[in-house]
């Protein structure tokens, strides 16, 4: 019974933890523009992230090594350092986007401009990391994030043209009259939002924080293979709600305020309260994961003590890196730059950096020295390799698509 409860808890947390500002913005934008026409990208993204999260979970549970620890051994200090710098910058941008998003959610609830909230949000984030236990943060924010499901419920209420939605969902090519590069630009951002590289660092380091061992492999697999697809459904709900209200009007989404409107139209006051609460929870959760990931990757590269299972006084350099990262993210958002813009830039840079994270995971998951009998089977390798091809294509195409489409204008 207790085990079942833990399993349910883990899955629910994974669902809520899947969504972040990247998923929210990209799903709303593409939903308003293409309806469910890019749903296939979310499906592909979810399959890829499942494959790699499962692999890195296995590496943690069996070898007891988080991903970044292994990256330096495999790539050598120089290539790993360049990898570290790139991954760190991408994660920092991602964190800045989440902090900005939280500030905007508070603005939408209070009417006071978001720049006022940036510093309090960053300080609050640091305090939570400093004081609250790892599992408690993950569970509370993950569960609270489930309220994002209000988008999916809103689709029902709005009663859109279901046959049109079904048609869009089954197509994998741009609708007639839509420029092809723009379609694929959005496909790349949507894919990057589903794959967010920091989630692998966080997931694998979190496995150590929660002391996984080989006997937790089943639980961990269930969390990933059930939780992430359901999380993908939640983010598709956002696309669906945008498709139901905004697609017929032919409008574009460029702010978080517009994203909440479908729920406001469906459920009025209650809907807005729930959706803003959900935004707050998932973005604080993602900011927490990104901030911790910044600390994890630097500490693991240099071999320092890290994590929340030791007292902060025993991992001072880890906590210093986390605090400095939060400060840098705060400075980025405090310039007053539009958080939606930061989100888009972070997603494109993430798309470029994706192979840096995922290739080493694939290599180590095939290494008998680390995993013994738990090395990748045929299925894992087939999915992993196919995913790697998609990741490489997205990485190569990201920048040219961004330039030619003027960021999807």
């Amino acid at each position: 019974m207790k085990r079942l409860l833990a399993l349910t808890m883990g899955i629910l947390t994974a669902i809520g933890g899947f969504v972040d500002i990247g998923d929210i913005v990209t799903n709303a934008t593409t939903g308003a523009r293409y309806g469910l026409g890019l749903a296939w990208v979310v499906v592909v993204g979810v399959i890829c992230i499942c494959a790699y999260a499962e692999m890195s979970g296995r590496i943690v549970a069996v070898a007891g090594r988080p991903v970044y620890d292994v990256i330096r051994e495999r790539l050598g200090p120089r290539a790993a350092l360049l990898n570290l710098i790139a991954s760190f910058l991408v994660t920092l941008l991602t964190m800045a986007a989440q902090i900005g998003g939280v500030a905007i959610a508070i603005q939408l609830a209070s009417g006071i401009p978001h720049v006022v909230w940036v510093a309090p949000v960053a300080v609050g984030l640091w305090l939570v990391i400093w004081r609250v236990g790892f599992e408690k943060i993950e569970q509370v924010l993950g569960l609270a994030g489930l309220t994002i499901a209000v988008f999916a419920v809103a689709i029902w209420w709005l009663d859109p043209d279901w046959t049109a939605l079904a048609d869009q969902a089954t197509s994998v090519m741009p609708p007639a009259g839509e420029p092809v590069p723009t379609y694929f630009y959005y496909a790349v951002t949507l894919f990057a939002a589903a794959m967010t590289p920091y989630s692998v660092f966080f997931f694998s380091s979190g496995g150590i924080e929660e002391r996984w061992s080989a006997k937790d492999l089943g639980t961990q697999r269930a969390n990933v293979l059930i939780g992430f697809p359901l999380g993908g459904l939640l983010s598709l709900g956002i696309a669906g709600a945008a498709a139901a209200t905004m697609l017929p009007l032919g409008m574009d989404v460029d702010s978080l305020g517009q994203v909440v409107l479908p729920v406001g139209i469906a459920f009025g006051l209650a809907g807005i309260i729930v959706v803003l609460f959900g935004f707050f929870a998932v973005m604080v959760g993602a900011a927490f994961e990104a901030a911790m990931s910044c600390g994890y990757m630097v500490s693991q590269y240099f071999g320092w003590p890290w994590g929340k299972r030791v007292a902060p006084g025993r991992a001072p350099r880890f906590h210093a890196v986390v605090a400095v990262s939060i400060l840098l993210a705060l400075l980025i958002v405090q310039t007053g730059v539009d958080p939606v813009m930061v989100t888009e830039i972070s997603l494109i840079s993430a798309a470029v950096a994706l192979p840096l994270t995922y290739l080493p995971v694939l290599i180590v998951a095939n290494d008998k020295e680390y995993l013994g009998e738990h090395v990748n089977g045929r299925l894992s390798n087939a999915v992993g390799l196919a995913a790697m091809v998609v990741v490489l294509v997205a990485a190569v195409a990201a920048i040219p698509l961004m330039i030619t489409t003027g960021m999807g204008a």
């Binding site: 939408l108 009007l249 032919g250 574009d252 305020g257 409107l261 139209i265 009025g268 809907g271 040219p400």
Partner: protein
């Protein structure tokens, strides 16, 4: 010597790439319509946003006025920016300029109606937004 030659090759390669990127960029911009079309599309989006805001305010109980006001503030900022961009165009905007001014007035009225929870004014704003969106669609082939 070999190093220097390689560095020169690399510089030339980079220059070529930049050129290619710029060329494709401008050709793409040309194929997606003029600046006038882009401004029209953005204005259209903002008008439709105003319509959705009115919809949400007509719910029972209505979506909170604070939230809707923030959304309308964003809309107003966008439209004001558009008016400035339009003034910089050689042809000066003409009809589009009048429509954007109309949209700004609509945003103001909607904001007032949201704050007063004036359902009649909200319905009127909704209807007006629809008409304005149609007028904007006539301005551009892309919409």
């Amino acid at each position: 010597m070999g190093d220097r030659a390689r560095a020169r090759l690399r510089r030339r390669g980079a220059a070529l790439l930049t050129l290619l990127a710029l060329a494709s960029c401008s050709s793409w911009a040309a194929s997606t319509g003029t600046e006038h079309d882009r401004l029209t599309a953005t204005a259209h989006s903002q008008v439709q946003t105003t319509r959705l805001v009115a919809d949400a305010a007509l719910q029972d109980p209505p979506a909170p006025a604070v939230t809707l006001t923030v959304v309308l503030d964003d809309t107003r900022t966008e439209l004001t920016g558009l008016r400035q961009d339009l003034a910089e165009l050689p042809e000066g905007g003409g009809e589009l300029r009048a429509l954007i001014d109309d949209a700004l007035a609509l945003v103001g009225r909607t904001q007032g109606a949201v704050e007063d929870a004036d359902r009649d004014a909200l319905r009127e704003a909704r209807r007006h937004a629809g008409a304005l969106a149609t007028a904007l669609e006539d301005q551009s082939e892309l919409l």
